[in-house]
């Protein structure tokens, strides 16, 4: 029986090429007119100038602003979705570009001041929204390439269902930039005359930009219910870094999972909004996958990317908005740009905007790394009556048992790291190359740089140590900065050749979910595959996503986070790397299973709270969750970037919780954004051994229970106990 609380859509916001709000998008869908042009966001020279993009034209964006374009696109759409209603209590945003456009200009100009790069981080988009809109709860950033926004809708729905939030702003945003435009160009995936999805002569995609948001609520009160998120489905091809599985294996799996979560038969779907990028391979694989799921009863379908362009991380949200308009307006959007349908696809796309009642829509989004996300939206009346979100639902997520843990520090793997700490030695610094050189067979890793190799070594070690013969049910990865060496190499080679040439491999490797895709390939994991890029709290958000998946029935999760230091970019982007005397990298991985009677460490995500530079958020968070006499100590991650504000926060924490020793651990473990994962691995060992080898003197743990606190723009807390 379906007892999940409903997830209602109560607000919409959009900005994309040809539409700056919902009314304009409605008009555009009824009278589709492609507005592709040469980029004026960044200069394009030579033959590339003829390649059209789907660029947003809005007066607000023309003015100079310290905020990057992605941030501004996101804000324009977010304000529409919220309208004059109260602030949401959480945000889940998908993005791949963050502030990279601004970073590209700064790098080209040779700017060496970190201040010029302070909005580079993917998390700065959602954090800017949260700060401006007054959002105090979890603010998540998902980065799974072109499925990012659809994955964000899935995570937002999962937050609403256990009642962790009541009102979540979910969507995606990406701006045009040199990285994605030239990256797709070098992959020979950009159509010279604009995308014509499903056409027999289709020749690629049109790189676009934009933002879309859906305001999701479990308890909408008097607000109008536009639609419901009936179900979402995630999967990973585990087949290839960029090419879709030729039979659309993962795509079909994601569609089936979304239908299953909705409790719908395929026949309940009246319209499919395709991923439909217009590349030869995507459209062929997607058509096959649809045949697998729908047999010979394929519903009306179309790709709207011939109209909006491919807005990358925003696509799942902009198309989610289109799906809602399809439901509310009774409209089947046209497959714009199509002349002759490719007969090999054996599908009949909607040729003209068509009025027709629509009960439910399936929206597909697929990304690099074989990362698939499907969302089923339906009329508010279509889901059976279910329990209300407010009734007898625990607000806390379940504790998970640590079946295996792995870490990499300057001292090596977990045993060596632990031994060094017990010997009162610090483990900060770079992970020695030898620790991950043999992460996987040579042919598998020959093209991979530091971050994916680190991740593969961590994942393989934890998976092997868990003794499990099957891949995990869920993969959740955190990384604040993603594959920096790949990003840096791609942009450097591009600049060196006057924006003519760069490495396709570096582009593919630069997406933040590329390492997670490699891990899925190595383990053969077709499970949901999430990558969180939320600055210093990326690991905590990966743990949150995994915990939501486990609460919904997953039986095992591989949760990990890691950073790889890049000599040029890290000091510019991460204030901790710039100000710390000893630059560091590394991370940790965990195989987590449901709590059972097997002895060992447990880990539980407790909360995230924003406000100020960590101080206000941390105090509010602790006041809400910390009971007296519960913990032996609070291990605190104090990013060097916080500077003097950190001392003030620590003093306030000490004043608020005088009974708990505070153990700041970054000096011991290293100043990098995923060090809280390493700390969690150490804490999991510590609660079992009864002693915590961090700080000036080892701390006895009679309660065998530690609180781990991450300070920053948003503070997060997790507990580890045995």
């Amino acid at each position: 029986m379906n007892t999940r609380p409903k997830v209602f859509v109560t607000g919409l916001g959009v900005i994309c090429a040809g539409a700056s709000d919902i009314a304009e998008l409605r008009r555009l869908l009824l009278a589709p007119a492609r507005r592709f042009q040469s980029s004026t966001v960044f200069p394009v020279a030579g033959e590339s100038a003829a390649l059209p993009v789907a660029q947003v034209s809005a007066p607000d964006l023309a003015e100079a602003d310290v905020l990057p374009r992605t941030h501004r696109l996101a804000m324009l759409a977010a304000r529409q979705a919220i309208g004059d209603g109260p602030a949401p209590d959480a945000i889940v945003l998908g993005t791949t570009t963050g502030g990279i456009l601004t970073t590209e200009f700064a790098l080209q100009a040779g700017v060496t001041s970190p201040a010029a790069y302070r909005f580079h981080g993917l998390d700065t988009v959602a954090d800017y929204l949260a700060e401006t809109l007054g959002v105090r709860g979890p603010v998540l950033t998902i980065s799974t390439a072109c499925s990012s926004a659809a994955v964000a809708l899935s995570v937002a729905s999962a937050l609403l269902r256990p009642g962790l939030a009541r009102r979540v702003l979910a969507g995606g945003a990406d701006s045009l930039c040199r990285l994605t435009f030239h990256g797709f160009r070098q992959l020979q995936l950009v159509a010279a005359r604009g995308a014509t999805p499903l056409d027999v002569n289709r020749a690629g995609m049109t790189v676009g930009e934009g933002a879309g948001f859906l305001l999701l609520e479990s308890d909408p009160g008097g607000r109008s219910m536009l639609a419901q998120v009936a179900g979402t489905g995630l999967s990973c091809d585990a087949y290839h870094a960029t090419s879709p599985h030729p039979e659309g294996r993962g795509a079909a799996l994601a569609m089936q999972r979304a239908l299953a979560e909705a409790g719908f038969e395929p026949s309940a779907i009246d319209y499919i909004n395709l991923h439909g990028t217009g590349t030869v391979d995507n459209d062929a694989a997607e058509a096959r996958a649809i045949k697998q799921v729908f047999g010979d009863k394929v519903p009306a379908l179309s790709s709207t990317k011939g109209l909006t362009g491919h807005t990358l991380a925003a696509a799942g949200a902009i198309e989610g908005v289109i799906a809602v308009l399809s439901l509310t307006d009774g409209l089947l959007p046209a497959n714009t740009g199509l002349e002759t349908v490719d007969p090999k696809l054996d599908v009949a796309p909607v040729r003209q905007p068509t009025r027709s009642p629509v009960r439910a829509v399936l929206s597909n989004s697929f990304g690099f790394g074989g990362n698939n996300a499907c969302v089923v939206l339906c009329q508010p009346s279509q889901v059976n009556a279910v329990a209300d979100a407010r009734t007898d639902r625990p607000l806390a997520l379940p504790a998970l048992r640590v079946a295996a843990a792995a870490c990499l520090s300057a001292r090596g793997a977990l045993d060596d790291t632990w031994a060094a700490l017990v010997a009162a030695e610090k483990v900060a610094g770079f992970v020695p190359d030898a620790c991950f050189a043999k992460a996987a067979p040579a042919a598998f890793i020959r093209r991979l740089k530091r971050l994916p190799r680190l991740m593969l070594a961590l994942a393989q070690t934890a998976h092997t140590a868990s003794g499990r013969s099957t891949p995990p049910d869920l993969l959740a990865v955190g990384t604040a900065w993603g594959p920096l060496a790949e990003t840096q190499d791609f942009l450097r080679k591009l600049s060196e050749t006057g924006d003519q040439f760069s490495s396709p491999m570096d582009f593919i490797g630069s997406v933040h979910n590329a390492p997670a895709g490699q891990v899925a390939l190595l383990l053969g994991a077709q499970a949901p595959n999430l990558t969180c890029s939320a600055g210093d709290r990326s690991f905590e958000q990966a743990l949150l996503c995994a915990s939501l998946g486990m609460a919904a029935g997953a039986r095992s999760a591989l949760v990990m986070a890691a950073e790889a230091y890049d000599a040029q970019l890290s000091p510019l982007l991460d204030a901790a790397a710039a100000t710390s005397p000893l630059a560091s990298d590394g991370g940790a991985a965990f195989v987590l299973v449901p709590d059972d009677d097997v002895p060992g460490a447990r880990v539980r995500w407790l909360g995230e709270s924003g406000g100020g530079d960590g101080g206000t958020g941390a105090i509010a968070l602790l006041a809400a969750i910390v009971a007296p006499d519960r913990y032996d100590a609070i291990a605190v991650s104090v990013p060097a970037a916080l500077g003097a504000a950190a001392d003030e926060t620590l003093a306030r924490l000490a004043g608020t919780l005088p009974d708990y020793p505070l153990v700041p651990y970054r000096d011991d473990l290293g100043q990098h954004a995923s060090v809280s994962a390493t700390a969690t691995a150490i804490a999991a060992r510590a609660v079992c051994e009864g002693v915590l080898p961090l700080g000036p003197i080892p701390l006895a743990l009679p309660r065998r229970r530690l609180l781990l606190l991450q300070l920053g723009r948003h503070a997060t807390a997790i507990e580890v106990f045995a």
Partner: protein, 91 residues
């Protein structure tokens, strides 16, 4: 001139191993073996990487399937393909 001593073949073999991070020496690449497929373990991303390298270093475009089939038939075929289309002076 035999294939083994063709300087362009030798140069391409070096670039192939270096660009793609192949776990073999340049001398070990058989100039007659097909570049795509099981032999060297080269996939579609590698091919694109080579396409970019060939246009950048030799000014020769490989922008359609037929050209790709011809160019990547073997290392020797690639050298011939480049020689036939190379601009009079390097770009």
């Amino acid at each position: 001139m035999t294939e083994q001593t063709d300087p362009l073949v030798a140069e391409l073999a070096r670039k192939l191993v270096e660009t793609l991070g192949l776990d073999m020496t340049a001398e070990a690449v058989d100039p007659a073996v097909p570049l795509i497929g099981a032999g060297l373990g080269i996939d579609s991303i590698d091919t694109l990487e080579l396409v970019v390298m060939i246009e950048k270093d030799y000014g020769v475009k490989i922008d359609n399937r037929a050209a790709g089939v011809e160019a990547f038939a073997s290392l020797a075929a690639l050298a011939d393909f480049i020689r036939q289309r190379r601009p009079a002076s390097p770009p």
